[in-house]
Symmetry: D2
Subunit: 147 residues, 4 copies
């Protein structure tokens, strides 16, 4: 419990803005990119085929981010991901972005496990036991069952 | 008090993703774009020259967004902006995105009034009385003085 | 023949970069957005249902853009679109971006009329007579039949 | 002569569109990102301080790209960069994107060596001998002196 998934992200020029720094919306994308990399590190993907043209996906239901410092073109950010809440059908990730040991942004992303089928409504489904086992080590604090 | 700034935003193709819907990070950009349009509607800009190469800017310190529905390519979203908190040096905006009367996303953006000078650190400064007068009508509920 | 479709585009902050100007990739997006607006002005869309879950779409096969000047946050660009080539199955659009009467970028976008069906390969199809009639006025110079 | 700079790029979800594939404007960004990585591989940067607050930069004057296939979320693209033309003051890069040995896009990017100073007009300057020596091995065919 409490394992941290760590990765790095170099700031691209197109992610900066006329203030000379990383545009704040870029951190929202960095969070998702780190999450997707996390799924791959577990040997799976955020989009997982369930057979018969059905896919398991994780639509986002909430994002938040606090900005405490700035990053610039070519800075290499360290990104840390933990799971703050592992619900029956949802996950709340927490992210911390650091540049040279200084926290420059931190955020949360809540996603819901869903059955995705072309032309059908999304339907939330329970997170499988197999996935729960893979995710467990990254949960910090209590495992809640809400949602 | 409690006036709402309303605008519209048509979903562009490059703002959608492979799930066939608007990518969630696009709403974060829509919020900022609506905010900038709001400043222009007041006859000013989010970037306002203060003379001597100094600019008044509004760096973002926090964003959050809840996603309750989906929007697709060419949908026209109605966007509503109000001010939830008008502090001494900061503003917290609240946004609601609707598609055909249905709320599909709502969010908050907190910005801090700063003195921006090339090659200098950002410095937070009090919001001028002139601006406070322009902003006042859009404040909902109590005007707080925090931050 | 030779009619010009004209629109305007205000530069958003997230479209600028740390050089203080519009990031060059933004013009590529502006071209597509103007093209999509052009389709709407004709009373149709770049994505047009053909029935039975089949859609007519226009995948891009080539883009090019020359950059001759710069644009900045909140500049309002005038955008002009004409059709340089109306082939049997493809269109080559030409765009010109001006800021205060000065050309700051010009580009071309080539798209192919395709039958789009979920889970099937894209298949190029002839442009219908009905569409050709709508597009005709915007063709500059000769109407070629290549592609 | 004729050395190829090779890198890889994994497709992020936010770079796809509602057609289920990489949005064509993403390749334009991939080109720039590969170029910037190329500069770093040479031990320098696309933005290089020249002293006294002056920077050497490389504004883009032309981009073009042909799309021959599609890439999807999480595909890993191989990217190849060569220099097609090394002028007195400009470089024309050529890029090829492959997915599983199949070329899916190829493009060109022309950049001009410039002196960049805050509040001053950009001024094109000759490429230094030191840089020419670093760039030489990546030039394919003749070294032209145009521009």
């Amino acid at each position: 419990m409490g394992q941290v998934f760590e990765t790095q992200r170099r700031v691209e020029f197109c992610e900066t803005d006329a203030a000379g720094i990383v545009h704040f919306s870029s951190y929202v994308r960095y969070m998702e990119q780190a999450e997707h990399e996390f799924w791959r590190s577990l040997g799976t993907s955020v989009m997982q085929p369930l057979g018969d043209g059905v896919t398991q996906g994780w639509p986002r239901v909430r994002v938040e981010c606090d900005f405490r410092g700035v990053a610039r073109f070519e800075d290499v950010l360290s990104v840390e991901l933990v799971i703050e809440n592992l619900g029956q059908k949802s996950i709340r990730f927490r992210f911390e972005f650091k540049s040279e040991e200084r926290v420059i942004a931190s955020g949360r992303l809540t996603t819901v496990c869903c059955r995705v089928e072309h032309g059908q409504e999304l339907k939330s489904i329970p997170i499988s036991d197999e996935l729960r086992e893979l995710l467990g080590p990254y949960v910090v604090g209590d495992v809640c069952d809400s949602v």
